[in-house]
Symmetry: C2
């Protein structure tokens, strides 16, 4: 059942024991929204736990309360309200088993969250679930302590690429202003979020050796062979190295993840890259799409570059 933000606030304040959760593979918004709400509810005297069915990346250890996040243990926590943040109830792992008697309150900014068994407050116009929690706490006349403000700021900042993405609204900026006024130091949060393991930076350096730009300058790519991919824990953010090259419309990252298996990611500033992805059984959006090709790296590279040339037509 869809409810208003006021109603969501009432349900929180009426509950006795609250279990908060968010999606597996938790990101800054899942963790930030959850911790911010947890600190507020504890301040209101509510017994509140935070369970996430996954590891919490070390990056977030600077957030107050990060150490209090628990893995679900399968036992009934006795909660009468399960709050699901930044996620539908289908992406919280085994947490629901810890609150078998609880009503479900789902707060999210992803349109994918559906009106399910419980109560749903969804606002897809908000850049982050942490931004919705900020709005909720303003409505509840919360005192924004640093313990509340830091996680909420982190959630908003990470979901908007530090206020650079198109989802950043005037409201997003004003929320940021209020949270900085509450004591958040933007440089401390941004330095913590940008920190990368040495191994990842070395992997980036190796990946950058493979940069190639097509003669017309409109497509740029990174092409990672199986040997290099084997040394990398993650290639998150690698595509940005070529995406930022002047004049480049389509950025491509091709990773050889097995014998004759190549994973292709594409980002564009205009060209419909989902058209190329779909041709090879993949999918995505106009500006971000991907597919998997049963080909060795060199052939996958040729295949994607010629499909892109076709879709993009003659250089203007």
């Amino acid at each position: 059942m869809r409810i208003s933000l006021e109603e969501a606030g009432r349900r929180l304040l009426q509950a006795h024991k609250i279990l908060i959760t968010a999606h597996v593979h938790p990101d800054g918004d899942a963790i930030g929204a959850s911790l911010g709400l947890m600190h507020y509810l504890r301040g209101q005297g509510k017994e509140t736990c935070l369970f996430i069915d996954d590891d919490i990346p070390e990056t977030f250890s600077l957030l107050p309360g990060a150490a209090a996040i628990q893995r679900p243990d399968g036992r009934d926590s006795g909660a009468d309200l399960l709050v699901v943040l930044d996620s539908g109830i289908d992406r919280i792992g085994t947490v629901q088993a810890c609150a078998p008697e609880a009503a479900v309150l789902n707060i999210d900014h992803h349109v994918s969250s559906e009106d399910g068994a419980g109560y749903l407050y969804l606002d897809a116009a908000r850049a982050a679930t942490a931004e919705i929690i900020y709005e909720l706490l303003v409505l509840l006349h919360a005192d924004f302590t640093l313990a509340i403000a830091m996680p909420l700021y982190t959630g908003i900042a990470t979901d908007t690429g530090f206020f650079r993405y198109s989802n950043t609204t005037p409201y997003t900026m004003r929320a940021g202003a209020a949270l900085i006024a509450a004591g958040v130091q933007p440089n401390i949060i941004s330095e913590a979020m940008e920190a990368k393991p040495y191994a990842l930076v070395k992997g980036m350096a190796a990946a950058m050796q493979t940069i190639e730009v097509t003669p017309d300058g409109r497509v740029a790519g990174l092409f990672l062979d199986q040997e290099l991919v084997a040394t990398l824990d993650s290639t998150e953010g690698f595509i940005d190295f070529v995406r930022v090259i002047e004049g480049v419309d389509v950025a491509v990252l091709i990773k050889c993840i097995g014998e004759n298996i190549c994973r292709v990611s594409m980002r564009s500033k205009g060209t419909d890259v989902s058209a190329v992805a779909m041709r090879y059984g993949g999918g995505g959006h106009v500006r971000a799409a991907g597919c998997t090709l049963p080909l060795p790296l060199a052939e996958a590279r040729r295949t994607i570059l010629s499909a892109l040339a076709e879709v993009m037509g003659e250089p203007v």
Copy 2:
């Protein structure tokens, strides 16, 4: 003479012909503050020119009015007011010769701007001169057209690293909110500011091959030999690749810029790197310093790493 922001506004509105300028090597704030003020004054019916004694980086060509920025031509523009933004009058090249009869109004956020021949409004608590111009235009009840808002937003965003640096205040964020409400698209500005020439990205890739981290993990460096440096137009931002490595306190960039001449840049999160820089005749601040060593690259590297080890003491 120091004046108030109100007084600065009165002087602008009393002038008949206005020449705006900013420092040489203009950055986003110099250009953004200047263009924003130019559009406002033109909207008030003031004859207004904008002279900068340098090339305007292509990056800023998306800003409305960027094409109207002129190089000083040595002739008297007939201006009765010369507005010097984001700079003292000593850093505007030959522009003053184009306004020999004009009163000088200096608006800046750098403490280095001194109370000189003209009127000075200085607010070092503002993150950007564009933020001061925003404040001024609010005071003057300006209608924030997109032509005014885009350059001001760009000035604020570039001087704060897109709202990530420690100079970002609640006021900075609220100014950003108002400018986005006026129609600025943060993603358009950030994509334009992040765009890099292919040659620079290739140079980054080559530089990243030289990454080294000391065994204790507290110092990381890039060491660029003369051959590599010769291929690079700029090494701006390169030090960030090592600065973001987890656990690194001091990031070092050493460039061999001639036979036995090495330029050293250091950034730290705590260690006083100016102590090391000063030992070799350089200078700077606690967290950002540099010096030049009359040594080949390998010796410069050894010298700086051992000086840092000394200053930093034993690993904790």
